[in-house]
Amino acid sequence: MIEVFLAPAPWNDLPLFGEQVISGLATGSIYALLALAIVLIYRSTDVVNFAQGEMAMLVTFSMWSLTLAGFPPWTVIFIGIALGFALGAFVERTIIRPVEDKPPLNVVVVTLGLFVLLNSIATWIWAQGELPKVFPTPFGFTSVDVGLARVSTHSIGILVVALIVMSVLYLLFNHTKLGLGMRATAHNPGASRLMGINVGRMLMLGWGLAGAVGAVAGMLVAPITFLFPGFMLAVLLYAFAAAVFGGLDSPPGAIVGGLVVGVAENLFGTYTPGDIFGPEMKLPLTLLLLVIVLMFRPQGLFGHVETRRV
């Protein structure tokens, strides 16, 4: 039997609407973080990293093992971030750099290959025994009242962590010399070398940062979806949608894109008439919304059209 479900209109049930928006913002900020990781790499190396989600997955699984081995939660979190950074930097040095000057399609194939490789490694190491695995959250899943709506503490934790990560990135890029060098490298690597910037090191750092930010997204989403080798796949899809929607070369775009996608997903899931679409249709409907926006703004909301003064 098909259950016909239609939520009351938002104005008839404000708390439900509020809950959907806030939890949408929470999942949206996870998409935003992964989208940020994708944008950081795209801006600096012109590489679309399809393996971004799987890199985060591998780190999250490692964190699960560390937790099992008895490490305290915050230690595991910091090790996870460091692992994400190291994995990103390592991937850039060993796998991406050799294909840097090759045609773009080569790099696409390399990141897709990395996707498959990391997924297989995780399945090989962790798929024995029960799947999915329960992943802990330091914030808990208690419900608390925020205004009219009831929200879980994990959702609030996600929002706070995302805000911290974004602020740190903002400060790094706009108020430090290292950030200045990284932005310069993203804009014009040739001229950056003439400024005395070690371009190779900047690219490696960029991938490392993206790896760390992606790892944070992984550890925030795992308590909700549970842990299995494919758990980042849906997140990656939404994150790509968010990044393209916001403009692939724009970090603020990735954040806005992520939040829009997260909220739209929740609202479509709740308010589409159940006799026409089920809540399963929320993903296609969300993507349809983005396609419509991109028809009018192909470079994304905040993306740049390539222009050059001659």
Binding site: G181, R183, H187, L194, G196, N198, R309
Partner: protein, 235 residues
């Protein structure tokens, strides 16, 4: 100060330099003349470390630099103002200047230098927070020169600083470059299409054709040379 000895270099299968030897004494202004594609820009790219020569050697202050990285060469005191300016167009004028000073750590010195350069190029002060890409061609060239000076180089490499500029503006840039050379003692190696401006600015010149030096002499002598006059000065 700078000694280039018999360098050869190629882009893939295309040989761009066939044994070029050039010397730039301390404090001098030396210019490289020649038609498009003769290899002038390639010579600068080899000196600044963007391109490895396949043969020959480059020495700066008696130290061999042709195997060093571009970053290391900037730190040694060579700065290049590249062809087409290569500004960071989406970043502000101020950020471009700060990037010029990327190898330095003396905050106060950097501040003082920006102030001094604002004296040379007042427009940069006015446009401080604007993206470099929004500047006019002449303003962009001024910014490119200023950015090149921000690393406090002892040798400045200039690639076609007058390209695409109105004569009045290009004359102004040469006037400032002369000041930089005389007052700050910065040695200059200039690549220039406009041979008339180049020879009135430089002390010494080399004519480069198809990857080799065909004539070299003082600027005054080059201006008298029959071939140089006919080919490059047009009278």
């Amino acid at each position: 100060m700078l000694k280039i000895e018999g360098i050869e270099a190629s882009y893939g299968p295309v040989k761009a330099l066939n044994g070029v030897t050039i010397e730039v004494p301390e404090g001098a202004v030396v210019t490289l003349l020649g038609p498009n594609g003769a290899g002038k820009t390639t010579i600068l790219r080899v000196v600044s470390g963007l391109l490895r020569p396949s043969a020959g050697r480059v020495e700066f202050d008696g130290r061999r630099i042709d195997r060093r990285s571009a970053e290391a060469i900037v730190r040694m005191g060579i700065s290049q103002v590249p062809e087409g300016r290569q500004l960071f167009e989406e970043m502000t004028v101020h950020e471009n200047l700060m990037l010029g000073a990327y190898t330095r750590h003396d905050r106060d010195g950097i501040k003082a230098d920006i102030k001094r350069l604002n004296g040379y190029f007042p427009i940069l002060e006015e446009r401080r927070e604007q993206p470099a890409g929004s500047l006019s061609g002449g303003e962009q060239q001024q910014l490119a020169v200023a950015r090149g000076l921000m690393s406090r180089p002892r040798l400045l490499l200039l690639d076609e600083p007058s390209l695409g500029l109105a004569p009045l503006i290009s004359r102004e840039i040469f006037r400032i470059l002369r000041q930089v050379n005389r007052e700050d003692g910065i040695t200059i190696l200039l690549v220039e299409q406009d041979a008339t401006s180049a020879l009135s600015f430089a002390d010494y010149g080399y004519v480069v054709e198809t990857g080799r030096v065909v004539i070299e002499d003082t600027s005054d002598k080059l201006k008298e040379d029959e071939n140089v006059r006919r080919t490059y000065l047009g009278y």
